[in-house]
Symmetry: C2
Subunit: 349 residues, 2 copies
Amino acid sequence: MDRDQTEKDDEASGLGRPTLKTLAFMTGLGVTTVSRALKDAPEIGAETRRRVQLVAKQIGYRPNRAGVRLRTGKTNVISLVLNTEREIMSFVSDIIYGVSEVIADTPYHLIVTPYSRSQDPLDPIRYLVETGSADGVIISRTQPNDPRARYMLERGIPFATHGRTDMGLIHPYHDFDNYAFATEAVRHLAGIGRRRLALLAPPVELTYHSHTLNGFTDALSEVGASEIPFNTVSVDHSIEQIRMRTAQLMRRDVRPDGFVSSAAAATLAIVAGIEDAGLKLGRDVDVVSKQSSDLLHLFRRELLVVNENFRLAGAELARSVLGWIGGATPGSLQSLSKPTGVLAYRRPD
Amino acid sequence: MDRDQTEKDDEASGLGRPTLKTLAFMTGLGVTTVSRALKDAPEIGAETRRRVQLVAKQIGYRPNRAGVRLRTGKTNVISLVLNTEREIMSFVSDIIYGVSEVIADTPYHLIVTPYSRSQDPLDPIRYLVETGSADGVIISRTQPNDPRARYMLERGIPFATHGRTDMGLIHPYHDFDNYAFATEAVRHLAGIGRRRLALLAPPVELTYHSHTLNGFTDALSEVGASEIPFNTVSVDHSIEQIRMRTAQLMRRDVRPDGFVSSAAAATLAIVAGIEDAGLKLGRDVDVVSKQSSDLLHLFRRELLVVNENFRLAGAELARSVLGWIGGATPGSLQSLSKPTGVLAYRRPD
DNA sequence: GTGACAATCTGTAACGTTTCAGTATATAGG
DNA sequence: CCTATATACTGAAACGTTACAGATTGTCAC
C-alpha cells in the first residue's frame, strides 16, 4: 500500500499538464479539497484556499475541459449557427469578433456550426442539442415563426436570436431597429424631394422583412409619398438579378426617384442598375442604404447610408446567451439597437 | 448482486442519450465488444459487428465527445486562429465556409480562436497547445520567419498556414500565387500603355509582401516600366490613410499612371484618392486589384480585377490539416493557387 | 469529562470511452 | 485424450473532474 501511494505521487508530480492530482500532491491535500478550494467553496479554510490557488496559478493549472464536460455535462461552448450561402459577409466576420470579444475572458470557446441551402435549418440545431455539443446557441436569419427557437425553448437550451420572432414566446434576442431605419430613410428621401420610393426588402420569410416594410409604408403615408413596388427581388437575390430588375424598373414610365436598400451589396447592384438605365444617382434618383462597414460612401459619394453594427450585435448576442446560461430570465436579455451614423443630409438641387 | 445488475440494465435502457452501455444492454454484449464492433476491429465476429452497427444506427448512437477526448486526448477540433482587427472581412467569412465544407462529414468541429492587436500572435497558439484544445490549427498572416509555425512544429502539433514561411522548415500550407498576380498585373498595365506603376503592397512583415513585390519588380524590368514608390502605406492601413496618401501621390509631378492593389477594400480607397486629386480612372490611370468577391466591377467599370478564392483556401487548409492528422507527410500537403478570372483586357484610348 | 456541533478535510464513485489483460469456447494437431 | 492455438468475447482500470457521504479535529456548554 505504501508502494502504491509512492507510485501514485510520483505520477502526480510528473511533467505533463498539471491536474488536480498534481496540485493535491504539491499541496499535500486531497483531490477533493483542491477542487473545492479552486472554486471558493465555503467549507475550505481561508488559508488553504489561498495556498491552493497560489500554487495553481504558479504552475499554470487549467481544468481539463473533457474532464469537466464528462462529469458535469457543461461544455463551455457557444455555437454560432450560420447559413453558408446566405449570410452577409461582414455579418459573419463581425459577429464572430463581437462574440469573441465577450467570451474572451470566460472559459467559453466559440464553435461555428454551418448549414447549407439544401439542409433543413433545424438540422444543425438538432445536432447540437442531441449531442449536447454546446451550452448556448446563437442563430441568425430569424423567422416570425421560427422552428429553431421553438425547438430550443422546448428543450430548455439557452440561445439567442439575431432578429426577433413573433410566436408569443419569450427568448433573448438582439435586433437592429429596421422599422426605424426604414422610416428614417423614407423621411430623409421625402425631405430631399423624393416622392416615388422603392424598397429593396429583406427576404419575406425573415422577421425583419415586415419590420422594414412596416416602417417603409408607415413613413410613406406620413410624408405623403408613394410606393413603387419592387418586390420581385430581395437582398437575398444575386447581384446580377437585382441589377437587372433595377434596370428594368428604371426604364419604366413610372419609375422610383428614391430607393431604400436593406443591404450594402444589394445597393451596389441597385446603383449599377440605375446607371444601366442611363440615369444618374443624386440627380434622377437617391438611394438610402444600410451598411455595416463604412465603404459605401467610397463607392458613390451620393449614397445615403445608415450604419448597422454587427460587431455590437455579436457582443450583445453573446452577453444574452451567457446571461441565460448564468440564470438570468430570458425576458431580460432582449435588446434593440437604433440606427446610428445617420444620413449625411444633402439636397439634390 | 442480481439487484444491482438489474438496476444497471434499467439505467442502460433509459431514455437519455444512448451510450455504449445502452448498446451493450440492447445487444446483450459487453461494453468492450460494442466499442470494438463499432470501429470494425478484426477480433469481432462479422455478424456481431453488423448487428451492433445496425442497432447503433437505429437508435442514433453518437460517441460522447467528452468521453473520447478524456480517454484518448483526441479533441476532434480544428482551430482557426484569427486576428480580430486585421483580417480581411471576406477572408474570415469564406475561409470559415471553406473549412466547414471539408469537415462537414467528419467528426470535427471548427472553433474560432481570436487574438487582438495588443496580443502576441503566439498567445493563442500557446493556449491551444498547452490546453490541448485542438487536434489541428490553421493560421493566417504568415511571416517568413513565423514563430507560431516554429512553435507548433517543435511540439509536433498538426497545422497549416495560409501563406508560406521561409525558415527552411517544411509544413503544410496553402498560398495564393501573389508573384503571378503581380507579374500579370504589371504586364497587363504595360499592355495598355502604362509605364509608371505604383504598388499597394501587403504589410512588410507578411511573407506575401515579398512575393508580391518580387513579382511586381521582376515584371517591371521585363516590360521596361518604372516604379513610383508607394510604400508609406500597405493594405493593412486604414481606408482614410490610403485614400489620403494616394491623393498626395497623384498630385505630384511624377505620378503613377497605373496601380497594382493587393486588396479590394484598399482599392476603393485608391480610387477615391485618385478622384480626390481630380484624375479619372481609366483615362489618367488604371488600377489592377485583387478581389475575393465579384464586386469591384460594380464599383468602377474601369477597374481591372484578379480573383483570389478564399473559400478554396479554407478548403485546402482544412484538407491539409486533416491530412497531417491522418498521418500524411507535411511536405505533401502544400498547395499554391493560381490567379483566376483574369483581367478583362481593355484599351484606355 | 462528556456530548454536541461546527469547521475542515478526504475517499469513493461516477460521467463515457478505450486499452490491457485476460476468459471461455471451439478447433486442430499430435 | 490432452495440449496448443485461434476466435470471440469480457471485466477492470484509467483519463480528470465533481458530488456524495463520511471522517477527523477542535471548541464549547454543561
